[in-house]
């Protein structure tokens, strides 16, 4: 029996070629970890190319996972363990590894040719450059091939199971439960018995290898995390967002219509929703981004919950139709899973640089509400909130997620259906005459939603300016000014909850204000600062338009306001313009989320300044 050592948290990064099944391996480890009862957060990071040239740095795919015996907020900064299935994976990730970290490499791949492809002049396993690390140089490929010999696979197919061998080894090292992975492999390869059996055998062999080899003297245990009681599942941002839209359909009583064009990293929402037609979900893969949003607006006109999902380049294409939605005042949810830009940018890398486009990226005065999700599971609630606002105020709503949330995952306490808000709305009722399609609800300023098929409400709407009330075409100067201001007033008046501030002692002089996916790293940094005795308050914006009514008061209550963003200061620009607050920006645009440690340093500098 080997020694077992207790840890409170561990960060593992699996890395290999994009054809090595790294994302699958990481996903399985995350599932095992979730089932075990740790809190966790994941960060998949992969190239846009489906199969970049094998063995090269651009082809490296990785999956980082942070798990702990307490609640955690990020996938972690620096890995404690790196699994590198080839030299390129080692080289691409080594700089982020702290000295002393554990490295597991597949020596089989460390050939002269592969070393050259990765740009290594000499074998790092032999030249002493890894002396500061705990290196486990194992021939994972040969071990795997040996373990699956009985199943008659070609050597190439046999070697492909090495990711499962590595998973088995890591599962042993951290005491993960294995039953679910075996069941998973049985399902996944049900149609190919030999592959199924080989993968299961490789997985078990990896576990057994850990238990018997002298290479690993200890294994580790991370106790379960005390999370609030309830039923949990692991969920990614894109799946949570899709579920949120289905929930919105159910809670509004309206059929969901999704018009979309495939685009990274939003396509998985289209994939997920297309699987749920039994919920009355209609998904329409359009000929282009414009048709995707156009069809959704058409469905909204007909009384559906119209939704389109895309990423930044798609929002640019949809802008004119979103403007039409503003003019005709119909509900529409536009999901922007942001990625690094401009133009094509880096499709698989995250960024928050579409905020100003979301607010202002249309011609004319065309205000619309903007809602942002802050964590993978929060995409569920954010989707419901976006739908609520769209339906209640008859307006397009921009819902911002990003690549980090889309693919990242975390445990989620599954809500009870009756905890979810009732977002039902009423269509305009039939009437005999004098229907005014642009009359307004005095409280919300929303116009009636008069769907075709309702007798007596036949009316025409369009992008040309409409006369207040009747909706007839109008070029009257006073009417235009009134309508522009009415549309603005409707958005300004949306019921948005106050901005909550986390300031435990109430005497912090520095506020960190963020929005979107930076919530986790900011909150983790704030914890570090407080743990070290620093005083700092934190607030996070879900609503970017309109801002919560108390935003100005919150900002003015602190001496200094720090605004970290994965852009060049877009929220800070808005805050300065709106509230005349001298916000301090901290900006990174590396296509990667913030690290908690870097933000903690920045916060401490601002406190000290």
């Amino acid at each position: 029996m080997k020694q077992v050592q207790q840890l409170d948290r561990v960060i593992i990064r699996f890395a290999g070629d994009s054809g090595d099944g790294i994302q699958l391996t990481g996903g399985r480890f995350a599932s095992e970890t979730a089932r075990f009862g740790n809190d966790l957060a994941t960060f998949p990071d992969f190239p846009a190319e489906i199969r970049a040239p094998a063995g090269t740095l651009p082809g490296v795919s990785s999956f980082q996972l942070h798990f702990a015996d307490h609640d955690i907020l990020t996938p972690g900064d620096a890995p404690d363990v790196l699994v590198a299935l080839n030299p390129a994976a080692l080289r691409a990730n080594l700089t982020e590894l702290p000295r002393g970290a554990r490295i597991i490499v597949d020596t089989f791949e460390f050939t002269t040719r592969n070393l050259a492809k990765a740009g290594y002049p000499a074998n790092p396993l032999e030249d002493g450059s890894l002396d500061g690390y705990a290196v486990h140089a194992l021939d994972l490929t040969s071990l795997t091939v040996g373990a699956v010999q009985a199943y008659g696979l070609s050597r190439k197919d046999a070697a492909r199971a090495k990711n499962m061998f590595a998973l088995g080894l890591l599962s042993w090292l951290f005491g993960r439960p294995v039953t679910a992975t075996v069941e998973f492999l049985e399902r996944k390869f049900a149609s190919r018995i030999d592959v199924r059996d080989a993968n299961i055998a490789a997985f078990r062999a990896g576990w057994n290898f850990g238990e018997t080899t002298e290479d690993f003297a200890v294994s580790y245990q991370v106790r379960t995390a005390p999370l609030p009681a309830g039923r949990y599942r692991n969920i990614s941002g894109n799946v949570a967002l899709a579920y949120g839209l289905i929930a919105a359909s159910r809670r509004s009583g309206l059929p969901l219509f999704l018009g979309a064009y495939p685009i990274t990293p939003a396509s998985d929402i289209l994939h997920e929703l297309s699987r749920h037609k039994s919920f009355g979900v209609r998904t329409f893969q359009a000929e282009d981004e414009i048709a995707g949003v156009g069809a959704s607006l058409g469905a909204s006109y007909g009384g559906a919950l119209g939704v389109t999902v895309t990423s930044g380049p798609g929002v640019a294409l949809k802008a004119e139709t979103i403007g039409l939605g503003v003019a005709v005042e119909l509900p529409l949810v536009v999901v922007d899973v942001q990625r690094a830009g401009p133009s094509t940018g880096m499709p698989t890398k995250t960024e928050q640089a579409d905020l100003l486009m979301a607010l202002f990226g249309r011609n004319g005065e065309s205000p619309l509400p903007v809602v942002a999700a802050k964590s993978p599971s929060d995409c569920f609630d954010a989707a419901l909130e976006a739908a609520r606002i769209a339906l209640k105020y008859r307006t397009p709503v921009l819902l911002l997620s990003d690549g980090y949330l889309a693919n990242g995952s975390e445990p989620w306490r599954i809500p009870h259906i009756n905890e979810l808000p009732d977002i039902s709305v009423e269509f305009a009722a039939p009437q005999v005459d004098d229907f005014l399609p642009f009359s307004r609800d005095p409280d919300t300023l929303a116009r009636p939603w008069a769907v075709p098929g309702t007798p007596g409400l036949e009316h025409r709407i369009g992008g040309i300016e409409k006369a207040d009330g009747t909706g007839n075409i109008s070029y009257d100067p006073d009417n235009h000014e009134r309508m522009v201001r009415l549309r603005q007033a409707k958005i300004d008046g949306i019921d948005v909850p106050d901005l909550a501030v986390d300031d435990p002692d109430g005497d912090a002089r520095v506020l960190v204000l963020g929005w979107g996916s930076t919530y986790g790293p900011i909150a983790a940094a704030v914890r570090r600062v407080r743990k070290a005795g620093g005083k700092v308050a934190q607030a996070h914006l879900r609503h970017l338009n309109p801002f919560p009514a108390n935003t100005g008061d919150v900002l003015r209550a602190y001496d200094r306001v720090l605004v970290p963003e994965l852009n060049l200061g877009q929220l800070a620009l808005l805050l300065r313009g709106r509230y005349l607050v001298d916000a301090i920006s901290y900006n990174r645009v590396r296509g990667l989320p913030f690290k908690a440690e870097e933000l903690a340093t920045v916060i401490e500098e601002v406190i000290a300044s």
């Binding site: 037609k277 069809a295 058409g298 469905a299 599954i414 007596g456």
Partner: protein
């Protein structure tokens, strides 16, 4: 569906099967809106509007279940003048918006009103995809071969060498033939008619509305300001009978009068050709088959007036039975519900690996 004439073009008559029917008798007045019509005096759009307004009562549909969707351009003002539901949308996007509406509301009769610039230039992509999908739409393409609302630039159907404000030395690009384009886009119903011939126009609309799926109706429409008399040869009693090739399903294709009587036959080089009727036997004359699953002959007929405006076929080129996209989409939803049961939100949220924390 007894009111719908189901002869020449239509195979199925299912186009409006799911749209509720009006109780009382309707008149033209029921479909006139209170808005003042504001096209240029003499515009061909007036004739088309009058033809549509007087045709709609014949359909006998509940007025509130009819929606006209348009893009941008002179013709796209059309919805304002009809007392049905309507959206005057943005340039080129009407087929996309109408697709979402038709796909989610099979109980509506959805019409798209568009022009040659709107549907063939800025919105070309949406038009071809709506046609290949066979969304249950009636698409009326007003072709005046010019940009009117922007004051007279050449359009994608203008003839080569067109002198306009934007092409003072003549336009350089070969025009689209909308019928050929539609046939190449897998359209299941393709027809051409003309603004000045109300009887023919309404006959085509009758077939188009009865057709299940996308029907494309090109309507030659005169812009008397920027491209006057573009179709005069088809209207002038002195010439019209010698150029107009009326296509009628099941009928031999003959046209012209007296000594000028002509016929269309299959050409030995492929395609079709016009010959003097007197020169060939009756058995050689091509009999129009709008229901032919193979669109080749329909395509050849669409090229008869290319390049010169010498023989112009009008009528229904193609009308074949093919499931409509919206019908198939709704069937998938029904099948999913039938096989899996109506979706349970709690079941969905709890799907996959879950665990309990107490």
């Amino acid at each position: 569906m007894t009111e719908i004439h189901n002869g020449n073009g239509s195979l199925n008559g299912k186009g409006l099967a799911l749209v509720p029917r009006a109780e009382g008798k309707q008149t033209l007045k029921d479909f006139k809106s209170d808005q003042e019509v504001r096209w240029c005096p003499g515009c061909g759009d007036y004739a088309i509007l009058a033809a549509v307004q007087s045709f709609l009562p014949e359909l006998g549909l509940k007025r509130e279940n009819i929606v006209f969707v348009s893009g941008i351009g002179c013709s796209s003002r059309f919805p304002y003048y009809l007392n049905t539901y309507g959206i005057h949308s943005i340039h080129g996007r009407a087929p996309a918006i109408a697709t979402g509406l038709a796909a989610s509301r099979p109980d509506l009769s959805v019409w798209v009103i568009t022009g040659d610039g709107d549907s063939l230039s800025i919105g070309g992509n949406h038009l071809i995809h709506a046609l290949r999908r066979n969304v249950n739409l009636n698409i009326l393409l007003f072709n005046n071969r010019i940009y009117g609302l922007t004051k007279g630039q050449y359009s994608p159907t203008s003839e080569v060498g067109k002198i306009t404000k934007s092409t003072p030395m003549g336009s350089l690009d070969k025009p689209f033939n909308p019928i050929s384009l539609a046939l190449g886009s897998e359209a299941s119903f393709v027809a051409r008619t003309i603004d000045s011939d109300r009887k023919h126009l309404q006959g085509v609309l009758r077939e188009a509305t009865a057709h299940q799926g996308a029907s494309l109706v090109e309507i030659y429409q005169n812009c008397n300001i920027f491209n006057d008399n573009a179709f005069e040869a088809l209207k002038d009693p002195a010439t019209r009978d010698d150029i107009t090739v009326k296509l009628e399903h099941g009928q031999p294709i003959v046209f012209g009068t007296g000594d000028n009587e002509k016929a269309v036959r299959l050409s030995p080089t492929g395609g079709v050709e016009v010959v003097r009727r007197a020169d060939i036997a009756d058995s050689e004359i091509l009999v129009h088959d709008a229901h032919n699953p193979d669109p080749s002959v329909a395509f050849a007929l669409s090229r008869l007036d290319d390049p010169a405006f010498e023989h112009v076929p009008i009528g229904i080129f193609r009308s074949v039975d093919r499931p409509a996209y919206d019908q198939l989409l709704n069937e998938q939803v029904d099948t999913a519900i039938a096989t899996k049961g109506p979706g349970s939100l709690a079941g969905l949220l709890h799907s996959g690996d879950t665990w309990q924390i107490n």
